[in-house]
C-alpha cells in the first residue's frame, strides 16, 4: 500500500492505494469520479482519457502512483459551475454523443487536440488525432463536427480572456 498525493479537479487529495492500482481505479473507485470510463484493457479505446498536468493521458494505462504530485483534471472538472466547457457544449449542440460512454474520454482528448493545434484544425487532422478514441455509436461524423465547432468557440473564449 502507498499513499498517493495528487490534485484532482483543483482539490488536493491523498489516497491510500494498493501499489498496483491504476489511475482510473483511483478516480472511479476511491474518489467516486465515475465519469471516467474503462472500455478496453489495451489502451486502445480512450474512454479513460483524463488530463495530467494539462496533457491527455489514458488513465487505464498508468499506475496511480505515477500520478503522485500531479494535477489531474477529469470530465467532472472542466465546466465552470453551470457553465459548460466549450467542448462539452459543442458535443451537445452537434449531437456528438449517443450512448455517452466514450464521451468523457472523447471530450478530454478533443480539448487536448485543440490545445496542441492552437485552433488550427481541419477535418483530416481531427480524424487522425482521434485515432486513440473509439466510438461505436456516432460514426464519428458529429464528433468531428463538434471538435471543429469547439475549436472555434475555444479560440473566441481565449480571445475574450
Amino acid at each position: 500500500m502507498s499513499t498517493v498525493k495528487l490534485t484532482v479537479n483543483g482539490k488536493a487529495v491523498a489516497v491510500e492505494v494498493e501499489d498496483r492500482t491504476l489511475l482510473v481505479q483511483l478516480l472511479r473507485e476511491h474518489l467516486n469520479l465515475t465519469g471516467t470510463h474503462v472500455g478496453c484493457d489495451t489502451s486502445q479505446c480512450g474512454a479513460c482519457v483524463v488530463h495530467m498536468d494539462g496533457r491527455a493521458v489514458k488513465s487505464c494505462t498508468m499506475l496511480a502512483g505515477q500520478a503522485d504530485g500531479a494535477s489531474i483534471t477529469t470530465i467532472e472538472g472542466i465546466a465552470k459551475g453551470d457553465e459548460l466547457h466549450p467542448m462539452q457544449a459543442a458535443f451537445r449542440d452537434n449531437h456528438g454523443l449517443q450512448c455517452g460512454y466514450c464521451t468523457p474520454g472523447m471530450i478530454m482528448s478533443a480539448i487536448d487536440i485543440v490545445h496542441r493545434h492552437g485552433g488550427q484544425l481541419d477535418e483530416t487532422t481531427v480524424r487522425a488525432e482521434l485515432e486513440g478514441n473509439i466510438c461505436r455509436c456516432t460514426g464519428y461524423h458529429n464528433i468531428v463536427k463538434a471538435v471543429l465547432d469547439a475549436a472555434g468557440r475555444m479560440k473566441v473564449s481565449q480571445a475574450a480572456e
Binding site: E18, R20, R28, N32, L33, T34, G35, T36, H37, V38, G39, C40, D41, T42, Q44, C45, A47, T74, I75, E76, A79, L84, Q88, F91, R92, D93, H95, L97, Q98, C99, G100, Y101, C102, T103, P104, I107, E123, T124, V126, R127, A128, L130, E131, N133, I134, C135, R136, C137, T138, G139, Y140, H141, N142, I143, V144
Partner: protein, 780 residues
Amino acid sequence: MGVEGIGARVVRKEDKRFITGKGRYVDDIKLTGMTHAHFVRSPHAHAKVKGIDSSAALKMPGVVAVLTGQQIVDDKVGNLICGWAITSKDGSPMKMGAWPAMAPETVRFVGQAVAVVIAESKNLARDAAEAVVVNYEELPAVADVHAAIKSGAPQLHPEAPGNQVYDWVIGDEGATDAAFAKAANVVKLDVTNNRLAPNAMEPRAAIADYDAAEEHFTLYTTSQNPHVARLVLSAFYNIAPEHKLRVIAPDVGGGFGSKIFIYPEEMVALWASKKVGRPVKWTGDRTEAFLTDAHGRDHVTHAEMAFDANNKITGLKVKTYANFGAYMSLFSSSVPTYLYATLLSGQYNIPAIHAEVVGVYTNTTPVDAYRGAGRPEASYLIERLMETAARQLKVDPAQLRRTNFITQFPHQTPVIMAYDTGDFNASLDAAMKAIDYAGFAGRKAKAKADGKLRGIGVSCYIEACGIAPSKAVGSLGAGVGLWESAEVRVNPVGTIEILTGSHSHGQGHETTFCQLVAERLGVPISQVSIVHGDTDKVQFGMGTYGSRSAAVGLTAILKAMEKMESKAKKIAAHALEASEADIVIENGEFKVTGTDKAIALPMVALAAYTAHNLPDGMEPGLKESAFYDPTNFTFPAGTYICELEVDPGTGKTSFVNFVAADDFGRLINPMIVEGQVHGGLVQGIGQALLEHAIYDANGQPVTASFMDYAMPRADDVPSFNLSHTTTLCPGNPLGIKGCGEAGAIGASAAVINAITDAIGKNNLEMPATPDRVWRTIHAA
C-alpha cells in the same frame, strides 16, 4: 410542428449528464457490502471438465466463495433458452443442446465459464481466479461451418447429430426451379458474411442484490430490455418469481443487439448473491466481451438469380449455412430465418424465391442478433447479386435495379413480407443526384491518370422493422409477443411523466418521446420526463431492438396520450361549461374553439386530483396506459452510393464520397435520425473494410482485443451526405418506419460494390483489407 414538436432538431435532454460525467452506468453503482465476481473461463474450445480444485483460491485473502457449474446445476438454476422455435423442412423441431450458465461437464467455446470467484475486490477476485485449478480433457474442436457438417467432424451436442440445428426452407421450390429452367441468364454468387463482434463501448456488467428477509432480488444490468430479462430469469431460469425480482437497466453504453440477451453472468450474479448473502458485482473486461457477447452475422451462402431476356428477375435460389457458435442464444434461431430470408426479395419484383438455411453448431462464441440481424446479410447478398448481374449482363447497375424495382404497393413478396409503401425510384434518384452519378466516368478517368483506381457502388436496401405484430411472429415460432406498452401520468401540478417499455441506450428517447408530448399538448419538453429501464416503475415492455422504439414504443405512448387527452377534455369541458367536442388543445391550454375561454393543463390536472368538481361518475386522477401491437412490420428503405479510390500499389481504400438517401417515414427528430444513420453506416463500413472475428481451425479466437480486431476509427471513415425521401408508413398513426439499423444494413454492399468496380474483379470477400484487395488486384 412547434419548436420542440415532431420534426424539430431538438438538442438532447439526456446529454447534460453524459457530457459532465454524471451518467450512471452499472459499473458506476456501489452497494453497501458489495462483493466482486471474476469468472474462471475455459481456455479450450472443446473439453471435458474433469475436476475443479478451489482449495488454494479459497485460502487467498479476501475470497468469499468459489462457485462451480456443478453447484448451479445442483441448485436447479435453469439452462439458457432460445426463444424462437424453428421447424426444419422435414417437420422436425430444431435440435438444441443444453446450455448451463456455467459448464459442469463440457466446455464448448473458449471463454465459457466453469466457475466464479467472489471476493472483496475486483483485483482479489481476479487473483484468486488464477489459483483455481481446472482439470480439462481436451476434445477435438471445429470452428468452420463447412468443416462442422462434414462426416467425422467433432460433435458438439448429442441432441444435434451432425452439428445441425435445423435445415429450414422458405418459398416455392417448384416455381423457382421452373423460373430457372426458362431463364435467359443466370447469375451465380458465393458470399461470406463475416463474423462480427458487436463491441458496445460499455462492457456488459451486472450487480445482483438479494434481500433475504423479503426473498427479493434486485438486478442492475446492461440490458436493452430489462422487462424481458425479468420474465426470462423468472419463468425459465428459476431465479425468483417476477414479483420478487426487480431489474434495472440504468444508463447503458450502447447495445447493437448484444445487450438484448440474458447472459450467464447475470444469472450467476443473482444466484451467487443469494449464496453469499451479499451484493455481487461483475463487470466484464473487453476480452470477456469478445469471448462472451453474442457475435453477429457469420453466413456462408451460394445464390443464383434468374433473368429473362429483358433483364427482369424471374427467380432467386439461396442456400445459406449459418454459424450459431456453441449454443443457441436467445433469438439466434430467428436471425438467419425469419429476419433474413423474408427480406430476400430486396426492393425487387421477384416472382419466385426459394431459400434453404442450415443452422450449424461450432466451437465458437454463440451468434445472435447484431445491428440489423439477418437483414444486413440479406441486403448484402441481394445487392452483391444485382451488381454481379449488372456486370455480367453489361448494363448500368442503377438501371438494372430500376428495371426491377417494385413500384406498386402494397406488394406481397414470395417470402412472407407484404411491403406496405415505398418509393424506391425516389431514393435512388436522390442518391444518384447527390453523388453526381452521371459525372462518375469523368472522375474515374481523371483518377486513373493519377494512378488510382476509382469505383462507385450502389446499394438499394430494404428492411423489416417496427418488430413486430405479435400474432404474426407467434405463428412463426416466436416465444414472445412484440407489442409495446406505455403510461402517461399527468401530475397534479401539470408536469408529465411518460413511462415506456422501450429502453434508451443511445437512441435519445428522453428527447424524442418528449417531442411527441410537446407536439400534442404544446407544452415545453422541460415539463415532461421519460421513465424507463426499471421493472418496478414501468409495468412491462419488450425493449429496444429491431428499430422498433419509435414505430411501436412511441405509438404506444400516442395511444396512452389519446386516452389521457380524452379524459382531460371532459374535465376541461365540465369546468368551462362547454361541449367536449368543442375543446381543442393548444399551447398547454384546453380551449373552447372559437372563443377566448380556456383552462390551462395544470388546472385540469389539479381538478382531476382534487376531484372536487369532476363530471358525474368520473374517476379521479389523470393517468392512462396503453399497449400497442403493430399490424405489420414497417419497411424502411433507401439507396446508399459510395465512391472511393483504391491504391493499386497498396490495396488501400480511400473514400471520396458516401451518400445516403433513406425513407424512414416521418422523422421525429432529424438530428437524432442522422446520428443513427451515421453510426449504422460506420458499422456497415467496418464490416466491409475492417472487422472480422476470426477463429483458428481449433476454435481459438484470434481477435479478442482491440489490438487484434479492427474497430473503425475516426480516420478510417468519411463524413456522410444524407438526405431523406419520405413515404409515410400507413401501418402506424405517426407514419414512422424506424431508422436504427438502416446504415448497418445497406452500407457494406455499397462499399464492396465500389471496390470491385474500382479493381475490375467481382470476387472479393469482406473485410476488404488492403492485403486482400491487393492480392485480388494482382491475382492471375
